[in-house]
Symmetry: C2
DNA sequence: TGTACATCAGTGAACGCGCGTTCACTGATGTAC
DNA sequence: TGTACATCAGTGAACGCGCGTTCACTGATGTAC
């Protein structure tokens, strides 16, 4: 590797470095200095690209949302048009499990700057996926009824809660307390199959 | 207030102080030194009672679980025996909204020590509530079927996700993007009413 | 009831650490002519 | 093609800050007799 004084693509390298730290050492270890160390540059270099830590975290979260969206698109494609919600669930949970640190960061609002246009655009594009596509009965995404929106948000709540409890180990801890020797995979499948009955 | 050299109940006072900081300044601001400052004692005092920050956080989270459990018991009582799950939802969401900082801490696994017996006992007692009481058909809490467990965990996932997305402001941000001028209260009610249909 | 003494809880100074940030600098790159 | 110069990206030393932790201490409390 040629060592030049100018890195050339330090901005991108810092984001990659930050993600490595995030998954390896956890959110608390992710500082501007740590990212610089990981990228092999001096600790003062990051401030040329990101004014602050929250700037870096927001860009990293944005890249996470772009990838989550792709996960959802792919999973929905595999599931087929009449199983949109089932595809969404799979993609969402699979993403959280494959990048738990990044997923946590994406929803840790204290540390993100949602006024950052890169983040809000990436987040917005991803969240649009949560509403199923127009079913051809005259409704469409532009003005969903309260009932359609409620359905979509209830579904999001469930898969988001499931993803969160899973990657934090709470789901398996609690489920094992209640029923020993249970496979987490089976439980996840059963949860997504079961759903939540409407309240009467 | 009599100022004596010995505080008398510093342990409890530190936990109260920690919760004040948590809700006022956020988790990042909650340090051993900050808790000592808030309680009005010297910064070296906390280590006599809590070996480390995670010891203090774990005790605080334990007290949160005790109170969450009481919220659930009360809400289930109000809802009545045949609306157990609806009561659970209300109590869970109400607790998270009334103590968002504490709720976040209780599920921030990196910072808690679940091997702490006080925490694991309090958590365990609370999580037991997630399974509805025996319905008299021969099943009981001691050995729920996969289907019953799946139902309970799916319901937990939904209310936990809802609570999380609510207190972080994500739910209203996304819902408002999709349907302007919507009342969050109406949306929450609709989500809890709607539920999630089983995947076919 | 009184005295001696051990134990306990909180103090305050000191330590080393990693952090973000500033600043004068230096080396590389790009542009004008 | 060559030279001069401006701009840009990264360096490394220095700063002040708040943190957890240690340690000898001091003042209050409890116990033995």
């Amino acid at each position: 590797m040629t060592q030049t004084y100018h890195h050339g693509a330090l901005r991108e390298a810092l984001i990659v470095a930050a993600e490595t730290i995030l998954e390896r050492d956890g959110i608390a270890a992710l500082t501007l200095r740590a990212a610089a160390r990981e990228a092999g540059v001096s600790h003062a270099a990051p401030s040329h690209h990101f004014g602050s830590l929250s700037g870096l975290l927001s860009e990293l979260a944005a890249s996470g949302f772009v990838r989550l969206r792709q996960h959802l698109v792919d999973a929905v494609g595999v599931a087929g048009p009449d199983r949109y919600m089932a595809g969404l669930s799979r993609g969402y949970v699979a993403f959280a499990r494959s990048s738990p640190g990044l997923f946590r960061l994406m929803f840790r609002s204290e540390q993100l700057d949602w006024s950052n246009p890169v983040l809000s655009a990436a987040g917005g594009a991803t969240f649009t996926m949560l509403l199923p596509p127009s079913s051809g009965d005259g409704t469409d995404k532009a003005s969903p009824t309260l009932s359609l929106l409620g359905n979509a948000m209830a579904h999001w709540s469930m898969v988001h809660g499931l993803a969160t409890l899973l990657i934090d180990g709470r789901l398996s801890a609690v489920a094992n307390e209640m029923s020993r020797g249970l496979s987490v995979e089976d439980l996840v499948k059963e949860i997504l199959r079961s759903g939540v009955p409407p309240a009467h």
